[in-house]
């Protein structure tokens, strides 16, 4: 084992930053640039993975309390940037960094295949976004969390607006608008209020930071409730209705962006932050005791069902996936809101499980777009025969979404159902069952169409994309229905890998479950 | 009602009427001339209120320079105001009425007009007028009043002199004696020789501040106690001058001088001008130098000096003036005045005192140093003022001929 002078979390933060710098320097030579991207991604995974054993160790929590904070910078007296590794963040960082590699491979195929402009900016921003994600994952206090949360919004904005078309800019405005409004108005005020109530103590710790304030009466239950609402709606990235609109809007981005960021990084950053706030800021026990978190179950439940219903009626593939994401995110939130140790585990696992499934689905959508320039579900008749790998992977992703074995979705859903049973929450049970049915109802027809409906003749990609808002105006370089096969090989490789990972997660989920359990064991 | 109040009332009535006329009259020329008249009336008001220096300045500035400025401007921008249909601007009237009402409301709690008990008359100023600030400071670390000295009583004291005045004019000690002893206050121990930095925070100002050199307390306040304000007053004038150059001066390639009609063909004017310019110059220097003793000072004197040059330019043409004072020279001289002032201040600082501590100029006899410093700065003010006025005149005149 090489001894690092820099501590691993810091290194993990610096690698993508350094990568961004190198990528921008290598901007003129596309091959070198993409090589740098891949190398950076690999290095990141190596570093992040190297930290995992320590987190899984039995005496982790004992050392956690004692471990000195890794201060990056003291912004104000009493307010500093701090990194600290804990199981939840570890899990998130692992997912993000491992999927970044696959995503980079995929991006290369996609960006080249679609002749996108400003590719250097794309890769740089991508690396910066990953850096933000790593910072978010290892954030040691609320302030650091907020900093990287905002940084993530900012670095992903150029990715969403990448095309520079009117549509892209408008959607990017929505994206930025909603995320910034919620985070500035609610999250920041919540954080400042927390700072005031805890006398400047914002360090994450299992069991929450409010105990003292609650004990001495300076913080009352209603105020705690208001704070909780501020946090839940302040974290706009969690896409809790009605602040979910940015997510469909962001689908205008190139597919790799949608795939990694809006299936993995950004949205997961949202639910991850929710989970982190519930576990380390409020503490489930505190929330249960003061009874201020129960409303979240109903809001999340409603979000799951409504988003699923909307997804049902979307013809645009990426839009349907987006609403599916909205609904799936609320799975995590509803699990977290149950506030039992088991449900927290379920929430953590679902973050991981959903990531693999959803990235596969997005990869597939992008693959279809690259190869066939099709964006609408109604155009997908018979496409499974032309693109067997893509649609096969799509099927696996869909199954994972529905939660059928042997896919990742099943694992987390299983834990969730267990938790529901344990906490005796019939509403959640109903929601889970109903939404499973809805998931099936909006995913399976696509699979059916792709494999079992005959391809229509004279279907012209040009005209069909006219009413599709997403992924329009690519270079129409001679593609017509009937003369396309699979997408470029990097795309196929990437999506096959993620599809396999989705299945593998079912069989080899020890690492994720271990981390989730470690998280549970830390709860007081 | 005595004569002073009567004159005051009459004057103020006239002033108010003139003010209304200035605002309402259509012709801008009339307005400008009325402004001059207004200033002269104001000067009378100031005299009536015993403010000779302000009066002098108002007459020189308002009656002289402002009017020249205004008329010089009117030549370029037209004489008539555009007719406006609505004579009365109602919102403005309401706004001004409200503001005025607020100001009058504020006067209700003021001390009566001329009340000797008003804070301004008995709180800080008496020491300045009696020029005993250097000794009554009460500031920690400075020369402290002697044991048993009743500071409060001293401050309440109105400065009346009783007792005999010695024949020997050099003997100024009577002032302390007469002012202080007759009121039962102790006489401070006056040091014969002031050693600089004899002790930490040692104060160099003599007990009577200027050794009796500066009977005009307006000048002592202006140039010594508040000399720093006056330095910036000079800077304001300097700034105005170079701002005018910035805004009005034509590019140099066009040349400074445009042909303009001079009145030099008239013998009477030539002779009288040549005759009076020396008098004007002497008077100007007199006013500057005499500032310590009576009304006047650098500013008023500077304006007087400027008029000599302006008169010269009017009669003999600006070409002649430029031969006497070429624009580059006058540009530089405007700055030199400010430099004399600030340089005097800086010299005091370089000699180890504080900025503008004139007593440093002559540590052996601090009062004389004060006097010297004040004269120097008055000349600085005078130089800057006269040169700026000249510059302003030149710029306006240049503008005219293009």
């Amino acid at each position: 084992m090489i001894h690092f002078d820099v501590s691993p979390p810091l290194l993990a933060l610096y690698i993508p930053l350094l990568g961004a710098l190198l990528i921008s320097l290598a901007g003129r030579w596309p091959n070198l640039r993409e090589l740098v991207t891949l190398l950076t991604a690999g290095a990141l995974l190596w570093v992040v993975g190297g930290m995992a054993p320590a987190v899984l160790a039995d005496d982790f929590w004992a050392s956690f309390a004692k471990a000195p904070a890794l201060k990056l910078a003291e912004v104000l007296p009493g307010v500093w940037l701090e990194l600290k590794v804990e199981p939840l963040g570890m899990l998130f960082a692992l997912i993000a960094s491992s999927l970044w590699i696959l995503n980079s491979i995929y991006s290369i195929g996609y960006m080249r295949g679609n002749h996108e402009k400003n590719q250097t900016r794309f890769y740089v921003c991508f690396a910066l976004a990953i850096a933000s994600v790593i910072g978010l994952a290892f954030a040691g206090n609320l302030f650091t969390l907020f900093v990287f949360y905002e940084a993530l919004t900012l670095t992903t904005y150029p990715l969403v607006a990448h095309k520079g078309s009117a549509e892209a800019i408008r959607s990017a405005r929505t994206y930025l608008g909603i995320l910034v409004v919620t985070s500035v108005c609610f999250l920041l005020s919540g954080i400042i209020a927390t700072y005031a109530f805890t006398d400047g103590d914002m360090t994450f710790r299992p069991g929450g930071v409010f105990r003292r304030a609650l004990a001495d009466g300076s913080l009352t239950a209603p105020t705690l409730g208001i704070l909780f609402v501020l946090y839940m709606y302040g974290i706009g990235k969690a896409a809790l209705m009605p602040v979910h609109r940015w997510l469909p809007a962001a689908m205008v981005a190139p597919t790799p962006v949608s795939a990694l960021l809006h299936a993995v990084a950004v949205v997961k950053a949202g639910v991850f932050t929710v989970l982190k706030v519930i576990v380390y800021v409020f503490g489930p026990a505190v929330l249960v005791r003061y009874g201020v978190g129960s409303w979240l179950i109903y809001v999340a439940g409603a979000t799951i069902l409504i988003a699923s219903c909307i997804a049902l009626f979307q013809d645009n593939l990426k839009r349907r996936l987006a609403y599916s994401t909205v609904s799936q995110l609320s799975y995590v939130i509803i699990a977290a809101a149950l506030l039992s140790p088991l449900s927290i585990t379920a929430a953590a696992l679902h973050i991981a499980a959903h990531a693999f499934g959803k990235i596969t689905l997005f990869f597939a959508a992008g693959s279809i777009y690259t190869a066939a320039h099709k964006t609408e579900i109604s155009q997908l008749d018979g496409i499974g025969r032309r693109m067997p790998f893509t649609m096969g992977a799509f099927t696996i992703g869909a199954l994972s979404m529905i939660g059928l074995p042997p896919t990742a979705g099943f694992v987390s859903k299983w834990y969730l159902l267990q938790a529901t049973w344990e906490t005796d929450a019939p509403f959640v049970l109903v929601v889970v069952v109903l939404s499973t049915l809805l998931n099936a109802a909006y995913f399976l027809p696509i699979v059916y169409r792709a494999f079992f409906v005959a391809e229509a003749k004279h279907d012209d990609a040009h005209h069909s994309s006219a009413d599709g808002h997403f992924g329009d105006d690519g270079d129409h370089h001679g593609h017509h229905a009937g003369d396309h096969g699979e997408a470029p090989w990097p795309i196929v490789v990437a999506l096959s890998c993620t599809a396999l990972a989705t299945i593998a997660f079912f069989f080899y989920s020890d690492l994720a479950i271990g981390l989730a359990n470690q998280l549970r064991s830390g709860l007081p | 009602m005595n004569a002073v109040v009567l004159i005051d009332t009459l004057l103020l009535l006239l002033v108010t009427a003139t003010a209304v006329a200035i605002i309402e009259v259509r012709s801008l020329y009339a307005s400008a001339i009325l402004t001059g008249i207004y200033s002269l009336l104001m000067a009378l008001v100031w005299v009536n209120m015993h403010s000779m220096d302000v009066s002098f300045t108002e007459a020189a500035v308002g009656g002289g320079i402002s009017t020249i400025l205004l008329i010089g401007t009117l030549v370029h921008v037209g004489r008539e105001e555009k007719p406006i249909k609505k004579r009365l601007h109602v919102p403005a009237l309401i706004f001004t009425a409200l503001t005025g009402a607020a100001l009058i409301y504020g006067t209700l709690d003021m001390p009566r007009f001329g009340d000797p008990a008003a804070p301004i008359h008995h709180y800080r100023v008496p020491e300045m007028m009696a020029q005993t600030v250097g000794f009554v400071n009460g500031t920690p670390g400075k020369q402290k009043p002697p044991e048993g000295f009743d500071l409060d009583r001293y401050r309440r004291f109105d400065g009346r002199v009783t007792g005999p005045i010695p024949d020997d004019p050099k003997d100024t000690a009577w002032r302390e004696k007469s002012i202080l002893q007759t009121e039962g206050l102790m006489v401070p121990q006056v040091r014969a020789a002031h050693e600089p930095h004899a002790e930490e925070g040692h104060h160099l100002h003599p007990p009577d501040d200027f050794n009796g050199h500066v009977p005009n307390s307006v000048t002592s306040l202006l140039a010594a106690y508040r000399g720093y304000d006056t330095m910036f007053e000079t800077t304001v004038i300097f700034t105005a001058g170079i701002s005018l150059i910035l805004l009005l001066r034509r590019p140099r390639r066009e040349g400074y001088l445009q042909p303009g009609a001079a009145l030099s063909d008239q013998v009477i004017l030539r002779v009288v001008t040549k005759l009076s310019i020396p008098f004007i110059l002497i008077f100007g220097f007199y006013v500057i130098t005499h500032g310590e003793l009576g009304p006047g000072g650098g500013f008023q004197g500077g304006v007087v000096l400027a008029t000599a040059f302006i008169l010269y330019a009017l009669i003999f043409g600006r070409a002649a003036l430029y031969r006497v004072v070429p624009p580059p020279v006058s540009d530089i001289l405007t700055g030199v005045g400010v430099l004399i002032y600030s340089g005097t201040g800086a010299a005091c600082m370089l000699l180890g005192g504080k900025f503008l501590d004139y007593s440093m100029l002559n540590p052996a006899v601090p009062g004389d140093g004060e006097s010297l410093g004040m004269t120097l700065v008055e000349y600085g003010v005078g130089l800057t003022v006269s040169m700026v006025m000249l510059t302003i005149f030149n710029q306006l005149a240049e503008e005219r001929s293009t």
């Binding site: 005031a196 | 910035l246 600082m349």
Partner: protein, 506 residues
């Protein structure tokens, strides 16, 4: 003779007299680069002095340095008084002044006729001198005189934009008239105060006011308070008395806009600090008088209204000008809270806004330098053509928004905390946050145009601004980022200043 002279004890006065003498000497510096080099030297020297002064203040036991001009006791003569607050403001003004002077060279070369550079830089230095003088003095009337110096120079500087656009003239004249009325109100207020206190020294005034049997019901004091408030409001462009500002900043020469936005109104606010906190005292201004309500309502309305107006502008400089009024609203809203966090936020935002807005105006000026205009159409696609300039603009914009790790965030952090602490003042917190959203709206229009649109016309051909512009720009923007990441210095100082202001006269 020079052996008796020491720099350190004379720092407070050197800060003002060095630029005074230097400014006057500028007129003999000839043409070409002479005046600029001289101005850079002088402002650099002043900046060095302010740094030394800051050290002195931090080291001083009482936290205050007093300098009696002419060695006259302060109640009679004029006193310079430096505490944490004005040392900080001095540092800001001198620092930004220095960097802006560095920046000015190219821009002035292009915008001002060659034959009057010496006069231009003379006025320029005197403007800085006036602003520094206001900041350092402890005498109420001295404030007025120096205020007039700074105003007069600023009128002239603004009017120098006349060769680019004639509206600079009307902007300058309008400012002249409003500014003079404002200054007259201040003079009147000082006169009323002098009438009841009999002194001009600020601290002396405070003591006398405190000793007044019933100051709260003394009608003279009340009217003095009201007129000072209005006069200061005009000088610091507090909404709705800001009418002069947008036009003046839009049409002034670029370097002047940068200087003014960063210093002129800031010093106005500093005066408000001195009058409200030092002379009248917190108890009078904010407890007995409804200054907190009046100021916070004006500030909050200003933040919202000017924010919306800024979003609707196409001219970058005009947009920044409106944004400045809004940002001043933050500062005013902060100190109207009259608690430690609020005032600290206010003080720190004076600095933060100065560096951010200064940098942004410099960026706008750089665009102006290259393209002769700086509107949204001109910046299209400039993200690639002038990457450093646009990046500076965006970084500054993020600061205005208050993104974490920018200086703006620090201000917001204190302000929101202060607003939440003060009773019934939470709407201020809401407005501060909404205001930052408006900042997103107007900044983002530029981001979209610069990075996601294709250039047209001249914009497609331009190259990056010269280094002498980019470097100062990045010094300021860099400072705004640095003091966003590590704000312990600025935070500490402003906390100290806030505490001394609230603890009555120091």
């Amino acid at each position: 003779m020079l052996d008796a002279f020491e720099i350190v004890p004379n720092l407070p006065v050197l800060v003002v007299t060095v630029p005074l003498i230097g400014g006057v000497l500028t007129i003999v510096m000839g043409r070409g680069k002479g005046p600029w080099a001289w101005a850079t030297l002088i402002t650099g020297l002043v900046f060095y002095f302010t740094v030394l002064l800051m050290q002195q203040v931090l080291a001083a036991k009482t936290g205050t340095i007093s300098y009696e001009l002419g060695n006259w006791p302060r109640q009679w003569g004029i006193e310079y008084r430096v505490d944490a607050l004005n040392a900080f403001i001095l540092l800001t003004v001198a620092g930004v002044g220095f960097v802006t002077t560095l920046y000015a060279q190219k821009s002035v070369e292009k915008e001002i006729p060659q034959d009057r550079h010496n006069f231009f830089y003379a006025v320029w230095i005197l403007a800085i001198c006036g602003l520094l003088g206001i900041t350092v003095t402890g005498d109420a009337f001295n404030v007025y005189v120096l205020l007039e110096i700074s105003s007069l120079t600023v009128y002239a500087l603004i009017a120098m934009g006349k060769d680019m656009n004639r509206q600079a003239l009307t902007a300058s004249l309008r400012y002249l008239i409003l500014g003079s009325v404002g200054a007259s109100f201040i003079l009147l207020g000082i006169g009323y105060l002098m009438m009841v206190t009999g002194t001009l020294n600020m601290e002396d005034m405070h003591d006398r006011l405190a000793a007044l049997p019933d100051a709260v019901h003394n009608r003279t004091v009340l009217v003095a308070f009201a007129f000072l408030l209005v006069g200061l409001g005009m000088k610091m462009a507090l909404f709705p008395l800001h009418m002069w500002l947008p036009k003046a900043y839009t049409y002034a020469p670029s370097a002047v806009s940068a200087l003014l936005s960063a210093t002129a109104t800031k010093v106005g606010i500093y005066m408000a600090f001195r009058f409200l906190f030092t002379i009248f005292g917190v108890g009078f201004s904010f407890v007995a008088m409804p200054a907190n309500v009046v100021l916070s309502v004006a500030a909050c309305t200003g933040i919202l209204v000017t924010g919306v107006t800024a979003v609707r502008q196409t001219n970058l400089k005009r947009m920044l000008a409106y944004s400045s009024v809004g940002q001043l609203g933050y500062i005013v809203a902060g100190f109207s809270l009259a608690n430690v966090n609020g005032v600290a936020g206010s003080v720190v935002h004076i600095f933060n806004h100065a560096v951010m807005k200064g940098g942004m105006f410099m960026a706008a000026g750089a665009i102006m330098y290259r393209l002769g205009r700086c509107d949204l159409r001109a910046v299209r696609g400039l993200g690639k053509r002038m990457p450093l300039t646009m990046a500076a603009f965006v970084a500054g914009g993020l600061g205005l928004v208050g993104f974490p790790l920018t200086a703006g965030f620090i201000s917001k952090w204190y302000l929101v905390q202060g607003a939440l602490e003060a009773p019934h003042m939470w709407p201020v917190a809401a407005v501060v946050l909404v205001g930052s959203l408006l900042a997103v709206a107007y900044t983002w229009r530029v981001v979209e145009a610069a990075y996601f649109q294709e250039p047209e016309g001249d914009s497609a051909l331009v190259t990056e601004a010269p280094l002498s512009m980019v470097l100062p720009m990045w010094i300021l923007i860099g400072a705004s980022v640095y003091f966003g990441v590590s704000a312990t210095f600025t935070g500490d100082i402003s906390m100290r200043a806030a505490k001394s202001l609230l603890g009555g006269a120091p």
